[in-house]
């Protein structure tokens, strides 16, 4: 913009040169005035790399939609003293290499001030590394929390989403006391799956569960039939489905067709709203799981109502999903911190995030100081049967709430923080 302005028009007259020279002199002489003024130019850019295509595509699209709402709200409220925010959505294709490249481009080429996004453990690690190297804040909205461990954590790392320990722990503490003790695991063979299984086992140890089968499947499997007979043969009381996205739906669909629901209770650490809607009531009937958010919370939580209403206004009255809400909160809290810091300066915003007590959509949250994990509540939900549904969006019933509590997290020492 500025360079093209300079070029148009006739060649500069002597007076112009003098004026420009004088102005330049003032600029050079007073950098403490000029620099901040230059930095405030242009919009606040938030890079948002998520896997728009691939097995988690439906969750990622939703995250992008919700993140945009957070940006729109920030702008509607006047931005940062008139400076607007802008969301730059990129497809990381659920590949760490792709995500690293996109993130680097976002920072170097597009001039992103903050990065928020990703939906898988390895991708998140890659994005975290790039952001740490470039000194940009990264707020992760993926469950896996390897980035919060001392080896990967830097001051730029924030984790807005729940983590497997919290989610599986909450579900385990709810289910295991009243269920049989024979527990089987179907695990997507990557960090998320194994972390979830570990969360269940830690919770289950208190109730003396016995692991009778532990079957891993490749990420994004299409057919689970080959993994199911082993689980059937082990004859468990509970089957923990430690997988995500379409994997969750497909494995549940096929397990149901094998008649396994009659033999065992099925639980999923993160019981997904989108997949439940895509799968239908029959397949999910009786399944219990955890979630960061379910839109019906609006009956009790004011911020949930406000978020739902913004989303509904743009989406023909449909409520937002659990993972969508992560996108909203992840970007929203960054912008809140920018406002409270009064600048986009990285260290100032980090300071603001560390002290922020925020309620974007589900009640009070804050980032734990040692690892920047967002301390928040987990909701235990059960899928409703067709007959009990009031409308097509009314798919879950909230059974219990595990309230925001640092005790539900792995301790700072466990994560290696000194």
């Amino acid at each position: 913009m500025t360079s093209s302005d300079k070029r148009k028009g006739p060649s500069p007259t002597r007076r112009d040169v003098l004026t420009i020279g004088a102005a330049g002199g003032v600029l050079l002489a007073a950098p403490w005035i000029a620099r901040p003024a230059l930095a405030q130019e242009g919009p606040i850019k938030i890079g948002f790399p998520v896997p728009l295509t691939g097995p988690y595509g439906s969750e990622a699209q939703e995250q992008a939609r919700c993140a945009q709402i957070a940006v729109d709200e920030f702008n509607a409220a006047g931005g940062l003293g008139g400076r607007m925010a802008e969301l730059l959505v990129r497809d990381d294709k659920l590949k760490s290499g792709e995500a690293a490249t996109r993130t680097l481009e976002l920072i170097e080429k597009d001039g992103a001030d903050f990065i928020c996004g990703s939906l898988s453990a390895s991708v998140q690690l890659a994005v975290n590394t790039v952001c740490a190297e470039r000194g940009k804040i990264y707020n992760s909205i993926s469950q896996s929390d390897a980035i919060n461990e001392a080896g990967n954590f830097t001051k730029y790392t924030f984790h807005e989403a729940l983590n497997p320990h919290m989610t599986a722990g909450a579900v385990g503490h709810h289910v295991f006391p009243d269920s049989g003790k024979r527990v089987a695991f179907l695990i997507a063979d990557y960090a998320y799956g194994h972390e979830m299984a570990r969360g269940f086992k830690v919770a289950g140890a208190d109730y003396g569960i016995e692991v009778v089968a532990e079957v891993t499947h490749p990420l994004a499997s299409k057919d689970f039939s080959t993994f199911l007979p082993q689980i059937q043969a082990a004859n468990p009381d509970v089957l923990c489905l430690c997988n995500f996205g379409f994997d969750q739906l497909n494995s549940l669909k096929q397990a149901t067709s094998f008649g396994m629901k009659n033999q065992m209770k099925m639980i999923a650490p993160a019981l997904l709203y989108n997949q439940r809607r895509a799968g239908g009531a029959d397949i999910y009937s009786g399944v219990v799981g955890g979630t960061n958010y379910y839109w019906k919370l609006e009956d009790e939580i004011a911020s949930a109502k406000a978020f739902n209403d913004s989303y509904r206004a743009q989406n023909d009255g449909a409520p937002p999903s659990d993972y969508g809400a992560y996108g909203y909160a992840g970007v929203g809290v960054l912008l809140d911190a920018v406002k409270s810091a009064g600048s986009t300066d990285t260290d100032a915003v980090i300071g603001a995030l560390e002290t922020l007590k925020y309620d974007k959509y589900k009640g009070q949250q804050y980032y734990r100081s040692c690892d920047h994990q967002s301390v928040q509540s987990v909701f235990i939900i059960e899928s409703k049967d067709e007959a009990d549904m009031e409308n097509e969006y009314d798919v879950f019933r909230v059974l219990a709430t595990a309230s925001a509590d640092e005790g539900a997290l792995r301790s700072c020492a466990e994560l290696g923080h000194g």
């Binding site: 728009l52 295509t53 691939g54 097995p55 595509g57 439906s58 699209q61 063979d189 079957v215 891993t216 499947h217 490749p218 994004a220 499997s221 299409k222 057919d223 039939s225 080959t226 993994f227 199911l228 007979p229 082993q230 059937q232 043969a233 379409f246 739906l249 497909n250 669909k253 096929q254 067709s257 094998f258 008649g259 989108n274 997949q275 809607r277 895509a278 799968g279 239908g280 029959d282 397949i283």
Partner: protein, 291 residues
């Protein structure tokens, strides 16, 4: 490890293989007769599932959808052959390959625009719900049905090709299209039909898979890879090869899942590499078809 578990796992592999068989015979048929490497096959499979969803919503009847889908998708195949593939005959094998590759991307994108990225529910029809005890353990009734349909289709196709006069023309046309032209046979009509049948089979495979997996625009992508592996292992252009290799791949995937799940994804590629080392034309393939 009990014998029953082993047998059940084997049987699971057969059921899994039958989807591969359905996919591969369509692909193999088109290649064997037209020497068109159809990269849009996975997309037609996906379209089959979505047409099934649409027809199911319209009629509420799975059986009507199952019967109509191959005709709808097959008709699309006819249009594609007539207006897109036909102008490329005689221009070398890579032209139709690139065309169908692009067509596949376009179809996926169109479906994404119309139906969205979210999965669409598709339940197992009531009559086929639940599991039955097959003596060695419980097995989904729907997968038994799938095996039966595959057998019926393969036998039907074989009878059509071997015992009818149109089948005779198709087989002769595959050997030497020039002579057939000289004999006064409209060979382009034959090719049109074959392409339609091949895509129709992909459509059937799609609608049959819909109740087992999620109906999403990307569903054809991974399936295309599997279909090609099966076709290459069995021999490009060989129906018998497609059947044998389809079942083989299904069983191998199933057995690896039981004994060494880390390799479940790779097993079929290892099989393919091994077969290609020993028999570059595939198990039942003719030599020099790609030339």
């Amino acid at each position: 490890m009990t014998l029953n578990l082993f047998l059940l796992q084997l049987f699971t592999g057969v059921a899994l293989g039958s989807v591969f068989v359905l996919l591969a015979i369509g692909l193999s048929l088109i290649f064997g007769l037209l020497t068109v490497v159809n990269f849009a096959h996975g997309a037609f499979y996906m379209v089959g599932a979505y047409v099934g969803v649409f027809l199911l919503g319209l009629t509420g009847n799975f059986w009507v959808a199952l019967i109509l889908v191959p005709f709808v998708v097959g008709a699309m195949g006819l249009v594609v052959e007539r207006f897109l593939v036909r102008p490329l005959y005689g221009r070398g094998i890579d032209y139709p390959l690139l065309l169908t590759f692009g067509l596949g991307l376009v179809l996926v994108e169109l479906v994404r625009i119309v139906f969205g990225l979210e999965g669409v529910p598709f339940d197992v029809p009531d009559a086929l719900q639940g599991a039955v005890n097959i003596g060695i353990g419980w097995f989904p009734l729907y997968r038994l049905f799938l095996i039966a349909v595959t057998i019926a289709l393969v036998v039907g196709l074989w009878l059509f090709l071997e015992k009818t006069s149109f089948g005779l023309i198709i087989r002769a046309g595959a050997r030497d299209p020039e002579i057939m032209r000289v004999l006064g046979v409209d060979i382009s009509r034959v090719w049109l039909m074959v392409f339609g049948i091949g895509t129709g089979l992909a459509g059937v495979a799609g609608v049959l898979s819909a109740p087992m997996t999620s109906v999403i625009p990307d569903m054809g992508t991974s399936v295309l890879v599997e279909a090609f592996v099966v076709t290459v292992v069995g021999g490009m252009g060989s129906l018998l090869g497609a059947v044998v290799a389809g079942l083989m791949v299904g069983i191998i995937i199933s057995m690896t899942a039981l004994f060494y799940p880390e390799l479940a994804d790779l097993a079929m590629f290892i099989l393919m590499a091994a077969v290609l080392l020993v028999r570059p034309q595939g198990l039942f393939g003719r030599k020099g078809l790609m030339g």
